[in-house]
């Protein structure tokens, strides 16, 4: 089945992973900017990273017929350095009109601190002023519930934001409801230990329906599985769900959400002629 992985960090993966994804039916990926495993020391470090995301990764993905899209920000783990964060936020507009840039992300909270909140709000300001879509990281494990509620507070306070253009990612059983009820998109991340399994993601689709729901691998440099979305597809099939429902979640929903971004110029595989 054709699918789109709406959240995967391909800079951390080898080229063979692109080939595997293509063989599994992946037609497009979207790659939010995130933490490299160490704190970068300067705005130029981020500028180089954004060049990698907007120039080289689309090329590498293209070798296997995969369309590559991206989101730009300084992530929550590095947001404790507020002065560097402000330099990066000021630099981001240099890249916003590059092909394949979908918006601001993945912004959010990590340990739910004051500095993270300040930098999150300044990213929201940038997104509102530049009319960009937003992709949001919610914290891990015990910090997820309070952090998600704090993020929703900040989002709902900002009346400039169109909630249908905001994706709140890494939802689990205790956070998906408030995200969907507030009118945002919800992303479920399939990780081997933390976050969500394919089976639990299917449970949540069964409980909350397929509207405004996305499923991703968030494959990165840590323990993660870039082919997790096909695992979800299989889990849906084994429960007897129709192909149309599965396709809605893994293909049509990403197209609908990303289609609201001016940087999303998707070529349907159906449109390719030989």
């Amino acid at each position: 089945m054709d699918y789109i992985d709406p959240h995967i960090h391909m800079v951390s993966r080898v080229t063979d992973d692109y080939e595997t994804l293509a063989k599994m039916g992946c037609r497009a990926v979207s790659e939010p900017a995130f933490w490299a495993g160490f704190d970068r020391g300067s705005v130029d470090g981020f500028r180089d990273y954004f060049r990698q995301l907007t120039e080289f990764e689309p090329k590498r993905a293209g070798w296997y017929g995969i369309q590559h899209y991206t989101w730009l920000c300084i992530n929550a783990k590095e947001a404790e350095n507020v002065s560097l964060s402000r330099e990066v936020i000021a630099m981001i507009p240099e890249f916003l009109n590059n092909p394949g840039v979908l918006g601001i992300g993945e912004i959010g909270l990590n340990k739910n601190t004051r500095n993270e909140s300040i930098v999150f709000l300044e990213h929201l300001d940038l997104a509102a002023k530049t009319n960009e879509q937003i992709l949001i990281h919610t914290p891990h494990l015990e910090d997820k519930y309070p952090g998600t509620r704090m993020i929703l507070d900040m989002l709902c306070d900002d009346r400039r934001l169109d909630r249908s253009r905001v994706l709140v990612d890494h939802v689990e059983e205790h956070t998906i409801r408030p995200v969907l009820e507030a009118g945002f998109w919800a992303g479920m991340t399939l990780y081997p230990v933390s976050k969500c399994t394919p089976q639990r993601a299917v449970d949540m689709v069964e409980m909350y329906g397929p509207e405004r729901v996305l499923v991703n691998s968030a494959g990165d440099w840590g323990p993660s599985k870039p082919t997790a979305v096909p695992d979800f597809i299989l889990a849906m099939r084994l429960r007897g769900h129709p192909e149309s429902l599965i396709r809605q979640v893994v293909y049509e929903n990403p197209l609908q959400f990303f289609g609201q971004s001016r940087g999303f110029r998707f070529t349907s595989p159906d449109a390719v002629t030989h």
Partner: protein, 88 residues
């Protein structure tokens, strides 16, 4: 969305998986008991105990309840505590 599936069918599908996972939890707790020292006062053990008790409760929503047991609380007044201006 899954209401048309019979509970017996779901049990047939899930029984061995549940059995295996319960055994994994039991074995992990045994491993802690066999180790030297005590972790009885570690708050994580209290959370594990409460999560296991939540599994034994009937009715839906177990996964959400277990998630909340392993979560820190949300403070509604966090913005004033952080001196962050609300933008309403």
């Amino acid at each position: 969305m899954s209401a048309s599936v019979a509970a017996s069918e779901v049990l047939n599908r899930e029984f061995l998986e549940i059995r295996a996972r319960v055994l994994e939890v039991a074995a992990a707790l045994d491993r802690i008991d066999r180790a030297s020292g005590s972790v009885k006062t570690d708050q994580r053990c209290g959370r594990i105990d409460r999560a296991l008790a939540a599994l034994a409760q009937s009715g839906p929503g177990r996964a959400e309840r277990v998630q909340m047991i392993f979560s820190l609380p949300y403070q509604e007044d966090w913005q004033s505590e952080f001196a962050i201006e609300q933008r309403r």
